[in-house]
Symmetry: D2
């Protein structure tokens, strides 16, 4: 560990929760240099939907490298990019009746978000971007202004402008459709919320605490955007690529967003990769306006192509995610019922689930115990109070059961020690307002 | 080409200059799907200092992938990262007496710049960043505000704040040391230039037109920064990793910058990779304040380790770059003398050179002819008026000669057709001011 | 009119509604150069609470000028300023148990708001200012960012940053206490609403359409501010100086704001004047940090002193405003009941009232007819849909009746011509959300 | 003094230098409540060009008030405004061949600057405003971003964006025409200085330390602006209204600025007043876009009309200013020669002069001694190192002599006590750069 302590920056985060040196990985397992095996319920924060070093993609990647296929080609046309575009079009876009232009940005999610916001602002000639409470879109300056977390925002060192914050689905209580509030401020010329170029939203807020937008809310949001000539950007970086059961997380809602950002699991093998999808009419970029040295990561083209070919040529994979997702949901509900004293809750969609432990301290204790039992699992949410279940989608049933068993044991162990589990504060009950 | 026309965004740039589909690459050569070979004097815009698919690194990379080494590990400690940090410390930092902490950011240059600017702002508690005319630091919003190019700036769709612009070395004519101007505005409490957290500068401005800062200017700049308690950030993304002859481009000047950003050729094999180096006292990050899904690209750790081991264990590689650089300089001077009508000029350091053709139109014609002769070469500068010679550092002598021969022929061919070559405008001569 | 058409800017507004040349004024009446008399229900947009050219103040002002009292003294101590401070302290602050430091800013409301926001930001070391839907605080850049009206915001020519918008009392329907939403975003570290330095609010939004905050809402707001260590700024520029019945508009709510801005009627005679009142602990200004050539308008010191002495030495004036306010309310309710088809509504507090005509077109027609009948009266609100009753507080009963009679006749006349009066849209009913 | 100490804010500035309570004023004299007389060489920081309580204007003002002329009329057409516009047009604009539209803004200089910047941004559709080192334009947020002084800038509490800083005439030494630098950055599409909507400049920087732009520099600046389609705003708030000898300070340079801001002495009597003059084509305001309660200060219309009538109907007043200005210059040069040890310098134009004492401490001691001798005089400049001679233009010769005598004695007295007078630092000499 010496060299990490000596010269790696204090900015490290996951390395603090899981203080081992890892050297190998396969499927749903990570291995450390002492040969210990860990079940991975973090999965690269959603990057490893197809598992570590997926053997189908690995073979193609080795072949490509072996034969001196282009590694780095700026934005030059390459055979690998050609294949990726073709398979994306044939297997993903066309079957879903989604007509999109593809922009390759620098291969990180935040870069895709920066590009999406830019093109929205330029096409609409407006500066404001509406973003939501608890949203996470990245930490470069443009994305950060749309990100909610004060830990990240505070690090900017400058004021973050250009974004107006709106309450996400459920933020004002279950009875209030917050899109009506958005509709009202956009209808009201004196609301002080400038007409935005776009609304950017995650269908499930991963970092924000596994908050799930309902189908109706998404439909209403799309409708409000359309009514006010505002673009709808779905940031599908974490929720996309099958995590919720369908390739895009918004398919169930039946909406056709103006812009979609993808990254994380898109590359398939865990390689840096990101794209912006936009309706053809929005592709008003001038040559090179948004650029980046690594916007053509050809290794990722190769593995992304395989990922789509292998998993998205029919409905089987999607059905499997649905089946496993239901199992996760049942298990989590049981855990919450047994040990949560009526205060813990579950939340999620597909294989994107969480346990809201109300207290971050409590959630942290649980994941620490789980790690001791061989499970890598993290928390999210404003106070890190939600245990985030984010295993590879390709996980074997027995390992999924194993992981959930470890979670159950860990929750049980920790909750047994607590005097009482804290209750969530309800801001919209009469008592609070009267305080 | 059909799929590119159909669904790839109009934002494409290099693909427009070199409209082929490439599929293989080795050393200084690219190959298209029809089997044509191209000599690469663009080298991934400085990313392929060690050539395409360098065989020494390739072998190690194949081994690593074959053995299921970690591909994606967020910021977890991995054996591959450990080796990289050790070799960076032993072979690069220690021998140069540079004590730096290493931060792994999202694997793109602009992400490293965003992180560098953030930490500077946070440590100093000031917002302003001084940047220079013609500087290029990336296109995400934080970096873009320090970038000079109006083509990129105009795409922001919002006003770019937080940066004060200063004239680069030579911008006010040869007689004016522009660091004296910086010193004056920082000394003058009513100058209107707020005391900055940092100055960010490239020692050679690649995208800005191969503008070279002199040793004295860099020394004076470092001194002015120190005098006013301002951090000095060297953006060594394009000029670093041997391009100017030494690993860091600032070694000759004998300065010890507070922060250094590296990317492009750092990964060795053309894989996405970026780091921020900072003096230990500056590492005041809180855990996870600046994060990113791909901040641990383990493939790049493997190839970056090999690159340092292979090329930077002794002075041989550095000497070779020096030798080839001198040859390039001589050849370019000759070309300019013969065909530039006294108006073309050369500029550069190490193997980072350019021919200033004054007119972008002219430079574009020359590179187009060169491409027809099998040479991939690009322009840079405000008006794309500088032909940028940026071949792999490991290029064989015969191929270096071949490339320069093609440049010479192309210049000759185009200049012969021109009535007259435009003269550069001199803003600081008395006549202009009196106009 | 010729010279106005020739060389006065198109920015004119009131002059368009009332296209006469006025030359004299007394009490509640204006006179044009042709000798026509107009009853003034606009009262300098709240500046003439004590009527035009109030004879008690006029005498003192003439004396002062005649005797060569200081007219312009920058911020020098003058005898006139001394008297003003003493009477303000003795007659206004002390009897209300309000301990405040007085800052004289440039003599316009927006300047006071700029100063209030500055000192809040500096004392708290935070940039964000929470402002409300439909708020109006001025049009210089700092104030404008807190102002809601898109007509004014759009004129900025730059993006307006530094302010987060929250829903005012009633904005989310009668059942939602919007301070609970504010409390929630301030409690939620991932809400994306940065902890503000201050909240700025009007107790009655004049320009926003005569929206009245309830006593409870103000109390809750003060409580939320306190809980989160956020300063509460009451912008009492229009609602203060007796308009709602008490000197400060927040007296009934029983709160003690951290900062209060006053202007408009403060000077008494319609002369430019503005102050910021702040709790002593907040007076952390360094000498001259916020300055302005006219921050000592000594004529206004003289008349402001008289105004306080004459009207605020006992409760009589306040009681009179209450009595007249009730009369206005009754008359307006009757008008709305008779002619508003169940869609018009009234709103207001003290002598600050409005008729919401839902449609701006309709309201405009009514005020136009009223002007033809000799009444000067304006509209406000997002769509200029609210007729604003803002007569001098000192108006004689017979003239108050006369004005309200004219309003009644005008409403009647216009409404009779309309096929139907539009209904207000209810965003929070289920139907709308489902649209 | 008690009440000032008790409840007036610490933001006081002039009141600290001249700790008396003043109650009367006439011409060039101020009187305190103890009957002491002070010769006023501060003149309301340039607001009292026609002296305190000028008897010609006073009579008209008394008449106006006595007869109940409109005091406050928002932006309604009034007879007083009509007369002002007519006399401004006939006596000032037409004789100088200046075609301008007049906008009445809130009656403070900073409000005029905010309006000027807004209209420039809106007409040009660009955000950037070029401002100059040591410029002062006010302290509301929009103006402050163009103001150079860090004392004022630091109080903003937010980052000041939207302005690019350029070196004023002489800032880079006498040999460099800094407009050539401006021309270069505007010609260079990669300079990083975004094409501005406007340049805002003072012809003599009062607060900045009495820095005088040369005629040639102003001509070149106007030319550069024209060449790049950038508007030229002359902020004539302090230098205008006769201070430099002509009504507008730019008349000698023979330029026709696109926009001019006026305030301070424009009202004549020291009453709050400000206007923006703009070329007709720029008057693209929509009704009420920039508003303000006190934008029609009718008292100031009356006195401003008289001021123009009385002093600007022929060339006599202008000649007198020229004559007195020359006298001031001679006297100051003599003082500097006798006591400045070769380090003090003089600077100025018309009756706008200063003595650069290099050290703020020294300048402060001198003005303190002068006050003890009955002279009110202030310093300006980055370090308050320039003694600012700013007496009323109507000063009697004997009193002008008296004031200059006091200055001479004070300088003599203080300099005799100093060991040595500090030398100004020369940033552009070779030694400094080499340090």
């Amino acid at each position: 560990m010496k060299i990490f302590e000596e010269i790696e920056s204090e900015v490290q985060s996951y390395a603090r929760s899981f203080p081992r040196i890892f050297n190998k990985a396969q499927g749903e397992f990570l291995y450390d240099i002492e040969g210990n095996r860990y079940l991975d319920f973090l999965a690269g924060a959603g990057t490893l939907n197809y598992g570590h070093n997926n053997p189908y993609f690995k073979e193609k990647l080795l072949e490509y490298i072996y034969s001196d296929g282009i590694t780095h080609g700026l934005d030059l046309h390459t055979a690998a990019k050609q294949k990726f575009l073709e398979v994306l079009n044939e297997k993903i876009l066309k079957p879903r009746d989604l007509e999109y232009i593809v922009q390759f940005t620098g291969p990180t999610g935040t870069n895709a978000v920066e590009a999406a916001i830019k093109i929205a602002r330029n096409v609409k000639g407006r500066e404001n971007i509406v973003s939501f409470t608890n949203g996470f879109h990245g930490v470069t300056l443009g994305s950060l202004s749309a990100t909610g977390n004060s830990h990240h925002r505070g690090a900017a060192g400058v004021s973050l402008s250009g974004s107006s914050r709106m309450p996400y689905d459920g933020y004002l209580g279950d009875d209030i459709d917050t899109t009506a509030y958005l509709d009202k401020v956009l209808s009201d010329s004196s609301s002080g919320v400038d007409l935005p170029a776009a609304v950017i939203v995650e269908t499930v807020q991963g970092e924000g605490g596994i908050n799930v937008a309902s189908r109706d809310w998404l439909l209403n949001l799309a409708e409000v955007c359309k009514r006010h000539d505002v673009l709808l950007i779905i940031d599908d970086i974490q929720a996309g690529c099958g995590r919720t059961g369908t390739f895009f997380s918004f398919e169930d809602a039946g909406i056709y967003p103006d812009i979609v950002t993808l990254s994380k699991s898109l590359g398939g093998y865990g390689l840096p990769f990101a794209v912006v999808l936009m309706k053809p009419v929005l592709d008003q970029w001038k040559p090179g306006e948004h650029n980046g040295t690594f916007r053509g990561n050809n290794f990722a083209f190769v593995t992304a192509t395989e990922a789509i070919n292998y998993y998205w040529s029919d409905k089987k994979f999607s059905d499997e995610v649905g089946r496993k997702g239901k199992y996760i949901e049942q298990r989590l509900n049981r855990i919450v019922d047994l040990y949560g004293e009526g205060n813990f809750t579950t939340r999620g969609r597909g294989m994107f689930h969480g346990i809201n432990c109300v207290s971050g301290e409590l959630a942290g204790k649980i994941t620490k115990v789980a790690f001791a039992k061989g499970l890598i699992i993290e928390t999210s949410g404003a106070d890190d109070h939600v245990i985030k279940i984010l295993c590879p989608l390709i996980i074997k049933d027995e390992n999924l059961k194993l992981g959930l068993d470890i979670i159950e044991e860990s929750v049980k162990e920790i909750c047994a020690k607590e005097d009482s589990i804290p209750e969530e504060q309800d801001f919209f009950s009469p008592q609070v307002a009267a305080k």
